[in-house]
């Protein structure tokens, strides 16, 4: 099951954020999307998660245009894709309720009502998948804690567990380790690798080039809304075909560097 975008354009209020971007997420592969801030990484992930239609181009599931599908069919596809946001976006509820949210919305209404009634009259045990997802991120002891009382790093791990608990075919992760210390970063990277080994297709938007190198099967370098180059990490790091990729990976191409990036600069040209 391959999730892909083909020649998509997307913008906000007249300005174009993504231009003719094509990218495919194959099962059992990790694709990292790298590039300076404000370059369209989050917009690309939101297109893949069908938050919005592209202005042009197609978002497809196994080659079928998702936006040409009926609502029910599109919902079925959406439920095979989960996303973790840059901000953890947790509900004001205990951790286990956050992690089980995706499982609960997938239940038929009768089952949901029955379960809600059961929870009202007696206590309920979190589902095994919820506990197992929390074990993966090392937070099983926080199962009953309110999610809003967690630290930034813990919240990010709960958000990851929530995305993992629904056993998705594709995971979209927007800066999933930005709030994490090295230990927990390694924990999440291991979880990503285990998901990949189970056949999950993973897209990770990241600023961390070391992480991209560690976990990628393929890297995609996005700059100024354009997909400049894709390929295995070794190729991008060692033999990039585009000068902008080389400059970015050398740490020279930064935010607001759009125009200068196209023209080689002499050392004295910069103030």
């Amino acid at each position: 099951m391959t999730l892909s975008v083909t020649d998509v354009n997307a913008g906000f209020g007249g300005s174009t954020v993504l231009r003719n971007v094509s990218l495919a997420v194959d099962p059992g592969k990790v694709v990292t999307v790298v590039g300076p801030s404000g370059t369209g990484k989050t917009t690309l992930l939101r297109l893949l998660a069908t938050f919005r239609r592209p202005d042009d181009g197609t978002v497809a599931w196994d080659g079928d245009d998702i936006w040409a599908m009926a609502d029910d069919e599109r919902l079925g596809i959406r439920r095979q894709v989960s996303m973790v946001f840059q901000e953890p976006s947790l509900f004001n509820a205990p951790v286990h309720r956050n992690v089980s949210y995706g499982l609960r919305v997938r239940e038929p209404w009768q089952a949901r009502l029955r379960r809600s009634f059961g929870e009202l009259v007696g206590s309920s045990r979190p589902a095994d998948t919820v506990v197992s997802a929390l074990e993966t991120v090392g937070l099983v002891e926080s199962v009953d804690q309110n999610a809003l009382s967690l630290s930034g790093g813990e919240a990010q791990r709960v958000a990851f567990a929530r995305a993992l608990a629904v056993d998705p075919a594709v995971m979209l992760l927007d800066e999933p380790t930005s709030n994490l210390d090295p230990h927990n970063t390694a924990l999440l990277e291991n979880a990503i690798e285990r998901a990949r080994d189970r056949g999950v297709g993973v897209v990770v938007a990241t600023h961390d080039m070391h992480q991209a190198k560690r976990i990628s099967d393929r890297m995609a370098f996005l700059h100024d809304g354009e997909l400049v180059e894709t390929g295995p990490p070794e190729q991008l790091f060692e033999d990039p075909t585009d000068a902008r990729t080389a400059r970015f990976l050398d740490g020279e191409l930064l935010v607001g560097d759009r125009e200068r990036s196209r023209v080689p600069q002499s050392p004295t040209a910069d103030p």
Binding site: F91, A93, N98
Partner: protein, 234 residues
């Protein structure tokens, strides 16, 4: 001094009990219906950007100050025999009172719940959608996040309804049966009658009951908010 029991109209304490029952029936039904109407509308207005949204919000906020006698007059005209809804035969019935209290409570409920819904971060909607929620699931997630504000909205709507006198006096007619049982007489309209007839003690008793009811409902709301704070939402 004349004992209170002797001052009570025909029916004695059953008169008082029936008045309380009618008051609660009319106001709770009106607020219940208004909640069912206001929450989806608040979600609709809160979730969508459309031309004239600020105007709609301003109209809703203005509606909180609707003079109740004007609402009563308009409802009575609509429901009177010669009015467009005259065939429903609702004038001077508890249902007419429910309708007028619904009209009065809705702007309050809508306005407070709208600001509660708009106060919920966009990230909650995003998370509910990204985890496979339907439009209804996303709406429910927002309602649950905004639950404290929504409880406040319902309490404010109930406060507006139960303490209102002008419109229900006009559309309900303040009717009691000959055995002293209330048909359309509520605590507020009964107080006006008792005051006019000089039975101040009875009026004061009814006033204390009204205050106690409002206090009890607010107490329940505060308890719910405290119970719910930090407990499960979604």
């Amino acid at each position: 001094m004349i004992p209170l029991q002797a001052q009570l109209p025909d029916g004695g304490w059953t008169y008082v009990v029936s008045i309380v029952a009618v008051s609660l029936y009319v106001s709770l039904t009106a607020v219940g219906l208004s909640t069912l109407f206001s929450l989806p509308v608040a979600l609709g207005i809160g979730f969508t950007d459309f031309r004239g949204k600020r105007l709609v919000t301003a109209v809703v906020n203005t509606g909180m100050g609707f003079p109740s006698v004007v609402v009563g007059l308009v409802v009575l005209i609509l429901l009177s025999n010669s009015g467009p809804l005259g065939s429903l035969d609702l004038a001077f019935t508890p249902r007419a009172m429910i309708l007028s209290q619904f009209i009065l409570a809705t702007p309050v409920l809508l306005s407070v719940s709208l600001s509660a819904v708009e106060g919920v971060d966009q990230s909650v909607r995003d998370a509910a959608y990204a985890m496979g929620g339907t439009r209804v699931d996303v709406g429910l997630a927002v309602i649950k996040e905004a639950r404290f504000g929504i409880v406040t909205a319902i309490l404010a709507g109930f406060g507006r309804a139960i303490s209102e006198v002008g419109s229900i006096l006009i559309v309900g007619g303040n009717i009691v049966y000959s055995d002293g049982q209330s048909y359309t007489r509520t605590l507020t309209t009964a107080i006006t009658v008792e005051a006019r007839q000089g039975r101040y003690e009875v009026g004061l008793v009814l006033g204390v009951i009204l205050l106690a009811l409002v206090l009890a409902v607010n107490g329940l709301g505060s308890w719910l908010r405290n119970q719910g704070r930090g407990e499960r939402s979604v």
